[in-house]
Symmetry: C2
Subunit: 326 residues, 2 copies
């Protein structure tokens, strides 16, 4: 029986910073988190990360390194983290220097895009565990994605692969935040889907959402649609199926390109389960070329909020434990 | 100075079988070809391949192996070739057995999808030589594709990756042969593009194509459009730009997913050059998320008909010469 390897995995978000003690065998062993002082800028946030890490360092000195899932761009070497979405005053930070100088250590520190880190967590400890390769799509505020190929993150040429949310399904479709017409995020992103639902249901006065989403349905959300659908609301059920149909279209498109036929769906909207996934499974087949239809599968992510920490921690094992080719 | 390595590269097509003596340094050294006896079935076609190979074997016994670009599906191990598009009576053939038993040899024989082989040829000896990673798209009768990642074929989960021709750009668009709505092949495939041009130009009586494409424009083709455009024909120029616009849309979509920002365009229609590529470059940017727009580039394939043989031959060097990870 071999001793488990240990690392620290950080999931840095605009709302909270989660830190986990990660074992290559048992996954998440211990966990701490703090509210991100996102308005205070990079110096303060780096202090927060270091404080979380030092708590674990005191209890166990067998820790091999630190992995960080970061909500922004990362360089190819996984050292420099740039321009996070929801943290103020953060241009480019060399993470190994920033963390080790604060802690007085010389540990390996690796930073990876948060969607990629979460997908790696799924590949090792979550719903992706059963698949060698899969497409991860995260339905949250926006639509994120990542590609796991042969159990590793497929990084593309610069480390930014997996932006499935920006793939178009209709070149004359609505503009997403990125400016890409018909990008899937313009259908499934939280605000887009909510607006579509409001437009569809505003005059459907029988719909249960009228008792749930405030005056003029201004508070309508994917969560409310799901709750109404659970209670049998036809209009909400139909909109979730519409969203699932769009999801399946972009997945078919991605599958044609990648020949990766397994999909893990995460993020808040994935909680709607088969209200979305049943129609997604159908359109995914329709938009995949017949030669690639065997073995198509969509599953829901199971590791939830922990996937980011788990994957970030696993980066360390991957980097230091193998004579890798990438 | 090291001795060049040698292999035989076969480009098996429904019309001709091309065989080349390939050097890892100098590329194509010698070449033979025959008309494919496609109606005679697999036994005869395998005889034809073996005859071509044996010609080279007599002249040089330093040949390391045989690579075959095949117009159909190939298994993960690159041994079994299944159901080629335009060859009769061919279900599943174990190519190493079929070739070696005919020649009385025990050479390594590797078979790869023809689009993948051509892309590898481009990566090593053609327009893709300057890129570590690129997307290859081939505009011919259909629309084919392949992904080169870090100088190797990205094969996906089963070896069938790169079917960019089946990616949709409009979920309510025209049906491609595969049945996928709005697949790019339904815009750029030879018959689709010809039909679109005929429809657009039939009543544009000033267009030069009326003197070039027979009565009722029944013989119109991408080649005629290109020739008319070269002579300044406005209608033909506009249609080629329309086609390029669609090309750029699907490329943007693929780039978002792969973060591979270099594109090599081959196939007959690529001869139209900037008549197509100028508009493709523009829409490719529009359909790529802003964070991935740096370094986008489309180039035309240069090695032409030789790319298939070159890539097929190179498979042998790749497989036998490296302690590879894939």
């Amino acid at each position: 029986m071999s001793t488990p390897r240990l690392s620290i995995g950080i999931d840095l978000g605009g709302t909270s910073i989660k830190a986990g003690l990660i074992s290559d065998i048992d996954g998440l062993i211990d966990e701490r988190s703090v509210i991100t002082e996102a308005e205070s800028g990079h110096v303060r946030v780096l202090d927060q990360i270091s404080d979380l890490v030092s708590g674990f360092l005191r209890t166990d000195d067998a820790i091999e390194g630190i992995g960080i899932g970061f909500p922004g761009a990362v360089n190819w070497e996984r050292t420099v983290a740039s321009k996070p979405v929801n943290i103020a005053d953060w241009e480019h930070v060399h993470m190994p220097e920033a963390i080790n100088s604060r802690l007085g250590t010389s540990l390996p520190v690796l930073v990876e895009n948060d969607a990629n880190a979460a997908a790696l967590g799924s590949a090792r400890f979550g719903a992706g565990r059963d698949f060698d390769s899969f497409i991860m799509i995260t339905l949250g505020t926006g639509v994120g994605g990542a590609i796991i190929y042969q159990k590793k993150i497929f990084r593309g040429a610069t480390g930014a692969a997996g932006e499935i949310g920006h793939m178009t399904i209709d070149f004359e479709g609505p503009l997403a935040r990125s400016g890409v017409a018909g990008a899937i995020e313009a259908y499934l992103g939280q605000r887009f889907l909510s607006r579509h639902a409001r437009y569809q249901l505003l005059n459907e006065k029988d719909s249960l959402v009228h008792g749930m989403a405030g005056p003029d349905l201004l508070d309508i959300s994917p969560k409310i649609l799901y709750e109404a659908a659970l209670q049998g609301d036809a209009g909400s059920t139909e909109i979730l199926a519409w969203a699932g149909n769009k999801l399946g279209i972009v997945l078919g498109s991605a599958i044609n390109l990648l020949d990766i036929r397994k999909v893990v769906v995460g993020g808040g909207l994935s909680a709607a389960g088969d209200f979305i996934l049943a129609s997604a499974r159908k359109s995914m087949v329709d938009f995949t070329t017949p030669a690639l239809r065997d073995g198509l599968e969509i599953v829901q992510e199971s590791s939830g909020n922990e996937a980011g920490m788990l994957g970030a921690g696993y980066l360390v094992f991957e980097q230091t434990g193998e004579v890798g080719s990438d």
